[in-house]
């Protein structure tokens, strides 16, 4: 077993992934992976292409079912493998995709409205009236992610970075206990990156955030624990300096 | 027209309205209008287009003779597109917008049933030219095709008496005509001493093409040593696959004869008949009928529609119906529906096959029944011709219908119960 380094929060982990494996057509995308994260933690996951980062997120969010292993979440230790995507999301796991996926035909406001933490059953939604409280909350979030001015624009018209922020905003609106963020900084200008870093750091104050990122500079700026994935398993874990000093990691990144 | 101009601005719907309006205004012209209500598109176009052409030819001929009552005839052709509700819609349009004096049309029973309430409500007049299952007689419809006793029963008699068939396979397309006909035949066969176990019934969908299993089932019927015969009410295209499979299975008409009620010259023109020689069809008319009137009719038809076209039974029914209507109008001196309906009962007209058809008080014709054997050239060799048989609206072989009678002359009722001596209903139940 790799990943022997545990911090204090691991005692009452929010997410606990144990010995998970999955393979596609004979290719082992995740190989006996175990991973934990505490309630208020920011964690970066790095690793070369094909290391299983996205698959890992797919498993946590219910998109992919692992062949074996356990995934537990929250205080009640929910078995995520038994839940559907929408149930997992409602249980408090939010996800941001690598390519910004917002509903481009709808306005920023409407995107946030849909994400707002509310009863999600069809009949409740049918009866839903957007009240002043909701508006205030949406405006707050928009302000937080820097889209206050764009609230009534069609989200398809936003710039790439703005879409990323909108998506983060949607995550915040869901008020999840765990945030999974896939390459938030891709395609962003330097200024935008800084803003994104601040957003994620702020978010991690009240919840757990897992960031998957390629860009080492960005990870450094996050200033958090890092987990290195390789060939579907955890190769190393610790501070960025710690893992970058690990010969295995150097080997993987620079070697072959 | 100012009014119309305003309407035009309201859009497409109004545009259509205005067309209808102007048509309505023209309707009181100097012509006698004849509605032709046959599908020109959709599945039934295959059969019905021919009848539309027949009507156009007959109208052209009548106009060449000077029309009727000094007026020219004008055909109003509509296309109900094999869509049954559309038949009702078009019939209403013909009667109220085009104000036609008479309609010739429909092929399938369901289309007739769709039109019935409309013509009864608006007191229209329809000539229906196709063989059908009977069990109907409307004040406003004249049935010039065969009722079951003018086709199915004589054909079954022929099977029983001439061919010695002991076991029957009743194969039909799953719709009303085969269902009702087979029900009548079942009762008839039982009355002739054929046990129920010797009657095999199968229904297939329209346009069915996969016949191998059914043909095998029919062959297997012969296993108890009785002579098997097939009575086919298979409709339209499906026949082609059926006969092809029959031929492939090497079943000759001498082994298992097939008599069909829906296969005529037109249907045979769609396939190679060399393997079907000897199979039978029962109709009131065959193109091969040897009579001067027929020769003349065929000549005119080929000149009108093309050398390759054939004639068939519904065409003769249309021809008789049209000519009877012409005679009745001339006799009544008007095209008024009630006057014509009264005048046409008892009217006669020569059949194309020789002899005379007569319009009976139950709105059906008396016509001879012909049985023909298929020949290699796609024509029929007539092997049996009866004396004229009066068409029976309500069959005598079903207990519920046995007591019923239709008589529009004396009883003035289409569904008269001879037991209770009451008119069950004035209008048809559709």
């Amino acid at each position: 077993m790799t990943g022997m380094i545990h911090d204090a929060s691991s005692m009452n982990a929010l997410l606990e992934v144990t010995s998970v494996s999955v393979s596609f057509d004979g290719f082992r995308a995740i190989n006996n992976l175990s991973f934990q994260i505490g309630g208020h933690e920011l964690r970066a996951i790095i690793g070369p292409n094909g290391a299983g980062k996205t698959t890992f997120m797919d498993i946590v969010t219910g998109k992919t079912r692992p062949d074996s292993g356990r995934v537990r979440f929250g205080e009640q230790s929910l078995d995520l493998l038994k839940l559907r995507e929408s149930d997992i999301a409602r249980a408090g796991i939010g996800r941001k995709f690598q390519r910004p996926t917002v509903f481009e035909a709808q306005s920023v406001f409407d995107n946030l409205l849909m994400a707002l933490k509310k009863d999600r059953s069809p009949f409740a939604v049918l009866r839903h009236r957007t009240g002043a409280e909701d508006r205030t909350r949406i405006e707050e979030i928009a302000a937080e992610v820097g889209l206050a001015e764009q609230l009534h624009r069609r989200s398809g018209e936003l710039s790439h970075g703005q879409k990323q922020w909108l998506e983060i905003g949607m995550l915040l609106a869901q008020d999840p206990k765990l945030l999974l963020v896939d390459e938030p900084a891709a395609g962003m200008t330097l200024g935008e990156r800084e803003h994104t870093t601040d957003l994620l750091k702020a978010a991690a104050r009240t919840r757990a955030v897992i960031v998957v990122e390629h860009d080492m500079e960005f990870v450094r700026r996050l200033d958090c624990q890092v987990t290195v994935l390789h060939e579907g398993s955890v190769l190393a874990e610790g501070s960025l300096d710690h893992v970058t000093a690990n010969p295995d990691v150097i080997d993987v990144y620079l070697g072959r | 027209m100012n009014f119309t101009t305003k309407l035009r601005m309201a859009g497409v719907a109004a545009l259509l309205t205005s067309t209808l309006l102007s048509n309505a205004a023209l309707a009181e012209g100097e012509t006698i209008k004849i509605g032709v209500l046959h599908s020109l598109s959709g599945t039934m176009a295959i059969s019905e287009t021919t009848l539309k052409d027949t009507m156009l030819m007959l109208i052209e001929q009548q106009n060449a003779k000077g029309g009727i009552l000094g007026k020219k005839l004008e055909a109003v052709v509509v296309d109900p597109a094999s869509d049954w509700p559309l038949f009702a819609e078009k019939a209403r349009e013909l009667l109220t917008v085009d104000k036609v004096d008479v309609m010739f049309g429909c092929w399938t029973s369901v289309s007739r049933k769709s039109v019935l309430p409309v013509i009864e409500e608006l007191n229209g007049l329809l000539f229906y030219p196709v063989q059908y299952e009977g069990e109907e007689s409307s004040k406003n419809v004249f049935y010039t095709g065969a009722a079951p006793n003018q086709q199915a029963i004589p054909a079954t008699d022929y099977f029983l008496e001439e061919l010695g068939v002991q076991k029957f396979a009743l194969l039909g397309t799953d719709y009303v005509y085969p269902r009702t006909t087979n029900k009548i035949l079942e009762a008839y066969l039982k009355s002739k001493g054929i046990p129920e176990s010797d009657i095999f019934i199968n229904y297939t969908p329209f346009g069915h093409s996969d016949w191998s299993k059914i043909v095998a089932d029919v062959v297997a019927l012969g296993a108890d040593g009785k002579k098997v015969g097939v009575i086919s009410t298979i409709n339209g295209d499906a026949n082609i696959g059926f006969y092809k499979e029959l031929a492939a299975a090497g079943i000759s008409a001498d082994d298992i004869p097939v008599v069909a009620f829906s296969v005529g010259e037109e249907e045979l023109s769609g396939l190679d008949t060399s393997n079907l020689v000897g199979h039978l069809a029962a109709w009131n008319y065959f193109q091969s009928a040897d009579a001067p009137a027929n020769a003349e009719f065929i000549k005119e038809w080929k000149a009108f529609a093309g050398e390759k076209r054939v004639t068939n039974d519904p065409m003769e029914a249309t021809y008789i119906g049209f000519n009877m209507w012409v005679k009745a109008v001339e006799k009544a001196g008007t095209t008024d529906v009630d006057a014509v309906s009264a005048a046409i009962i008892g009217e006669t007209f020569p059949n194309l096959t020789g002899g005379t058809a007569e319009m009976l008080p139950n709105h059906h014709l008396s016509k001879p029944v012909l049985i023909g054997e298929i020949q290699a050239d796609g024509q029929f060799d007539i092997v049996s011709q009866t004396e004229p048989v009066p068409g029976d609206a309500w069959t005598d072989f079903l207990p519920e219908s046995k007591v019923l009678e239709a008589d529009w002359k004396d009883l003035n009722c289409g569904m008269y119960n001879t037991d209770t001596k009451t008119c069950v209903q004035m209008k048809s139940n559709y």
């Binding site: - | 598109s41 287009t49 996969d210 299993k213 062959v219 082609i240 696959g241 769609g270």
Partner: protein, 653 residues
Amino acid sequence: MVPLMLRHCLVLIATLVLLSPVKAQDSDLQMLLQANRAAIEKASRSTIEPVLDALVASKLPSVSSFLEKWREKEVWQRKDDGRFFFARPADGGQYMLIDIATGAEAGLADKSAIDQLKPNSGVRAVIASTLVEFQLSDPDPLRRTEALTALERDANESHLEPLRGAIESETDPALKARKIRLERLITIRFGSDAARRAEAIRSFAGDLGVDARGALNPLVATTPGFAEDLPAGVNVARMLTPGKSIDLDTAYGMLVDADKAPRVVSTEARKQALIAHMADGQVGGIPVASLDTQEARDRAYMALVADGRVPPLITLEMKQAEVARYRFYEAYAETDPTLTEAAEDTLSSISLQVGFNRFLDLVLDGLSLASIYFLAAIGLAITFGVMGVINMAHGEFIMIGAYTGYVVQQFIPNYTASILLALPLAFAVAFLAGVALERLVIRHLAHRPLETLLATFGISIALQQIAKNIFGTQARPLTSPAWLDGAWVLNDVVSISYIRIAIFVLALVFLVLLLFILNRTRLGLEVRAVTQNPRMASSMGINPDRINMLTFGLGSGIAGIAGVAIGLFAKVTSELGSGYIVQSFMTVVVGGVGNIWGTLAGASMIGSLQKAIEFFNPSNTLAAQTYMIIFIIVFIQFRPKGIIALKGRAAGD
């Protein structure tokens, strides 16, 4: 049979008596015919036999040739004097008459002056059966075959001896075998020696022929009967217990029919009785106006019964009591128990064989249907499966192929040549149509699969109507060459038509061909590359537009060929294709998209399942189709990706 013989003799005497008034120059045959003129003119199966017997009994040499000509509808009758002739067409629409006895020419006649005798097939069968004795030992093997065919259709007791006599002298081994078999069959039915009959019966053990069962089944046919005590001489098949093996009502009905028990008073009869006994607005003390329930009517009727004015109702107990007085049984018509026992044994051995063979036949039917579905769907599997294009006009490509076949046959009358030409031509025409469709429409709708569905639906209605405008609404003939006529007959139960075999072979050829093209050729490689990753493929120098065009053309072309095949066994109309489109889509979806093996699996499953459902519900083919579709809907719920699921772009992710 004796009375029949007597009748024949009487007819013969009558004929001889009638001979004298006929003109002197007439031959004996003509005279004999004239004597029976009415029966011959209006020949009917039920009346013709005495005439034929008279002809045979006359022993005139020209009888057999006359009968043959008569059967072939080659006998004519002169209208003015009613004399019979053979005739052959001569110049100027006239006919040369030929004397029936001498074969000499007897002068020309206008067609209007003579009538052709058209014996119907019932009469022809009787004539053929009469001809049997003339033909059984005829030197011409064709005539002997004819005689045997006639015997197979319709034999009687009188044929047994001549047939037995003709076996020994038979030289053709095939005909000899047929004669021997026939002899055994006729012995079963008409033989007089019980031992010989039993032997013949046993000899058919395991025989699959319909004729064998046809001879055996009448022996074991039973009729129900009853008696107070079993009478002697009745060959009882089994005893019937009322209420168990026979319905109580049926049993009671038998008693009623034999006047052994009073008739049950039906509801209707009771109603009529009430009407008959109406007086002063009431019946049996109950006002008529309140007789609007069955219960009130029953009370009124019982009141009448109490007065003894109507027959009492028959209660269940009364029925049971009556029935209990008798013993019910099923009896064989054949009185000799050894024969019925032999027949039962033989039939049970046959029925096992028949069951197995019927299953085999069903499998063949299923395979055949599957191959048709496969052919219809395979083109779709390519366009839909590989390219993800929903082509609603696929059915119309099938139609185009069929019409191409029809047009080719208009120019090339030789059916073999025309079919051989029609196949590649149908491919070419449909290929071009497909390429045109791809370039003009589908290319512009890339990645909008649902919209291609709508656009191609538009194409579909337009093409159908155009076909109607060109070819008319009537079905057109597409005739298979003579060598595809008929069926491959394994036995009387298992057979399959050659056309279906040809379609099956065609389907196999296409399966192999497509597998080859997709897996072993450059085109196939490129197709797969474009399917899996179009961007990568184009960067490798593959032109995806060209590949899509070719793929679509290929799929359409195959549909065209399927059209020729379907036209051959069914019909050619403008709606030919639309009948296959939904089925084809279901075949592809059930099998698994993007995979030829999947389509094969889908077609096999649908074909065999449909036949299986038809087997359990033989009288309603429509129901079989309904259940089939419902099954497919449910099946898709459990295997949404079909039998053989693929991953990747083609799988629709």
